[in-house]
Amino acid sequence: MEDNSVFFTDRSGRITSNPLLDQLPSYQSLLYRRKSSGAGTKRRGSSRGRLSSSGSVKWTINTMRRIEEKQTSQIGQRAIRELALNMAQKRRNKDQPLNKNQDLSSWRQWRQNTRRNLKRLRDDAEVFLSSMKLWKRDIHQIEGMFGTGILSYFSFLRFLVALNLFIFLLMFSFVILPIIIVPHTKGNITYDQHDETDCRVYQSSARRGLVNFHTHLGDLLSGGGFLEQTYLFYGFYKVDKIHFPKATYNLALAYLLATIAYLLLSLIWIVKRSATGFKRNLVQDEDRFQSFCNKIFAGWDFCITDQNTARLKRKSLFYELKTDLEEEKIKRKIADRTRKEKCRIYLIRVILNIFVIAILAACFYSIYIATTVSQEKQMNNVKVNFIEDLIVEYLPSIVITLANFITPLLFSVIINFEDYSPAFEIRFTLMRCVFMRLTSIGVLLFSLWSQITKCEEDSCVCGYNHKLYSCWETRVGQEMYKLTIFDFIIIFAVTIFVEFPRKLIVKYGQCGLAKWWGQQQFSIPQNVLEIVYGQTICWIGTFFCPMLPAICTIKYFLIFYIKKVSLIRNCRPSTRPFRASSSNFFFLGVLLIGLALACLPITVSIAQINCSQACGPFVNYNTSWQALPAALSHLPDGAQRFLYALSSEAFAVSFFVVTCLAMFYVIALAGAHKRVINQLREQLVVEGKDKRFLIQKLCQAQGPRSTSSVSGFHPGSPSRLSPSYHTSFSSNYNDAVFLTHPPPNSATPV
């Protein structure tokens, strides 16, 4: 059995064992890639021998030599380790250029050596950096046990820890640090308090004197009391400028710019991280494109080392394949729907969507009511007892958490009646949950603002209700703080008091209820929504509570360990597997939505609502935003005019138009590329058919009479000689089919 002939006669009984096919350049390059060194040279020698047995020896030998040279030069261009050769061949190829190098000038040698050493240095540096990555071993363990889908959740968590840490460092170094070092550097703080109006009276709820221990605990949980006048909240930063011996530091401007900076930093970092994911997902717009191929050839996770996980992965692949087969059936069913059925389905969908909107509206209204009630009760300052006070303070958080718990269940029930395809069902439910979670924060803030800007008279004197909210930013900061703390408490409590008992019940319970309930599944989408919700609160809250990112860093750090323990002890992987590729896209997409949503309240707070006159760095300005124009007015005239031109409407409109044009161009380009790809695909199919047809004809011609028939051969009906398949290695070829009679060189450029 020759291992360089493509069709084995003895194995499959096919008669078309064709030396012609072996001479096709595409097969030659496959052979070259395939096996060991000695066999390779032997092979080439034998095929050469076969060619020379017929005429035009010189021509064929030259062509072969040209091909070999091209291949070796292509080796030189690619890195050695990316070639599909075995180790001995690679080492020989590596040494060959080295020997050739003796002839090169010493400059070239030195350059190549330094390049190689730099590459090695870079590799070592990368290894060092990646060994410093947080939680490397834990994530490795999780990957081995649960596969790459859940792994992406944990690496997403790690990303958020890093992001929050950077945001905190940003705020700390530009806002908190100058204030801390003032006593040490003989600077002094100024804030203009030129007129004592009503607006500037600050009624803080900080306590003095001895208090009970549980009031301290209550303060810790609610952010009031002794925490109110600390670095934690906006109100403490009643600093306008800091005069150091050598310079003046405009803290108000720094506070504003640090806020904008951390939003931009988050945006850039998220977009950079999601760049590869977006690209891949935009190219394959249809999800069902190659679903079967993807599952069979890229479905098994080679990282799995645990027996249980392997069994689960097999089950999940089986489940996925069955789902896909079902989808095919459903697609056929949908295509066969009659008009009457279609109308009925659309009617049902409209009704159910109205129902969903009604549920959402009810949730939002209850959040609004809860916030209003909570704020009013807090303003009355009637202390009933510790627990009730806490409940009143946390009422909005409780309502939001309840709503976010009930609505996914409702949505997943409702979607069953809407009769979509399974993949679309999952995505649509997820979209609804995302909308619910993120909008609930918006509703909370909206209700807070309506409270803040509601005064007894029709229009507020200071622009906000200064009697009740002398320092409204601190109040908003306290609400964000409470949301964060409550979120963390809930995650912790659910793990300990719900999941752990569930595991015990399922393990030791004999009744049917336990079996039906089943073991906890680690549902990735819901968990991701949870932490994106927390991160959105952090983004909104950092302006009002500069230490919140530090709290969130610690919170996510602890959540990692809680979730890891819960995963390993309580959960089994979900049977609906979440693909690693689309999961990155999903996580970062939801995070971006959260970021966009977070920018909105901050913009409104900075630009629209009058800042508190009694506290904070912006006491001298009407709104927080005015610190920026005030600082710009000190710049030289030319710079001022330039900056004002940048912010004028003319510039904004033209910028918008140019961006739209660029976007349309790129979309058109993508459409054109897609059309070209389709055409090329069709061409490939036709070329394949051409090739088979030609080979058939050749065999027929060659069969009965070997040499004489060949001279009568024309490259018949196919319009041109079909270039054989080129692979990525042989793409530079001028292809020619090797016949025993050399044809005119009619190679087509590919």
């Binding site: 075995n86 180790m87 689309s582 058919k689 090739k691």
Partner: protein, 187 residues
């Protein structure tokens, strides 16, 4: 760097570092794993390139490969004799191709070899059926297996010969988003 190891010469380590995606430390670690598989067969001193091959049965017992349904095919594709006996060079080669840093084209070549059970340079229907059965441990009914194989060939076959050549396979795998992350063994 004054590394007092005597397993490999410096040139050998350099060569390994250039020809694979591993660093020196990792190559030494791989050697200790290789040695663990058969301590009496594998010499500790590789400076004069001993000719030592480990049989298939020892290698597929490694924890990284034990649960893999394609473990036999993986080891066979990297062995020179096609029977699964790996020398240390081939051992390192195998894990290098399956490491995180190997590019997609390289992985595609070897993936094709792995899935080609009858080694005829095509992924025909029998190959696909064998792959599918290994993946699902034969829990699908024969009609379902038939249907899935048909659909797979339909999706990926470009030249219409009812089996997948390497060109078809490469074209299809370049559009499989999960391939790089799943075709990867950590060692």
């Amino acid at each position: 760097m004054g590394n007092k190891q005597t397993i490999f010469t410096d040139e050998q380590l350099d060569a390994y570092q250039d020809c694979t995606f591993f660093t020196r430390k990792e190559i030494l670690r791989l050697h200790s794993r290789y040695h663990e598989l058969a301590p009496h067969l594998v010499p500790m001193d590789y400076t004069n390139e001993p000719d030592c091959k480990l049989p298939l049965a020892l290698i597929v017992d490694m924890p990284e490969l034990k649960e893999n349904p394609f473990r036999n095919r993986i080891v066979e594709s990297f062995s020179e004799d096609g029977m699964g006996n790996l020398s240390f060079n081939e051992f390192v080669d195998m894990f290098s191709v399956l490491s995180e840093m190997a590019p997609r084209e390289l992985k595609a070549i070897y993936a094709f070899k792995i899935y080609d059970f009858n080694v005829d340079n095509y992924l025909c229907k029998e190959d696909l059926e064998k792959t599918l059965n290994r993946l699902t441990k034969e829990e699908l009914t024969p009609e379902e297996v038939e249907l899935v194989c048909e659909k797979t060939i339909e999706e990926a076959d470009l030249d219409g010969d009812n089996k997948l050549s390497y060109a078809d396979f490469e074209n299809m795998i370049s559009r499989a988003p999960d391939f790089l992350s799943t075709f990867h063994i950590r060692i």
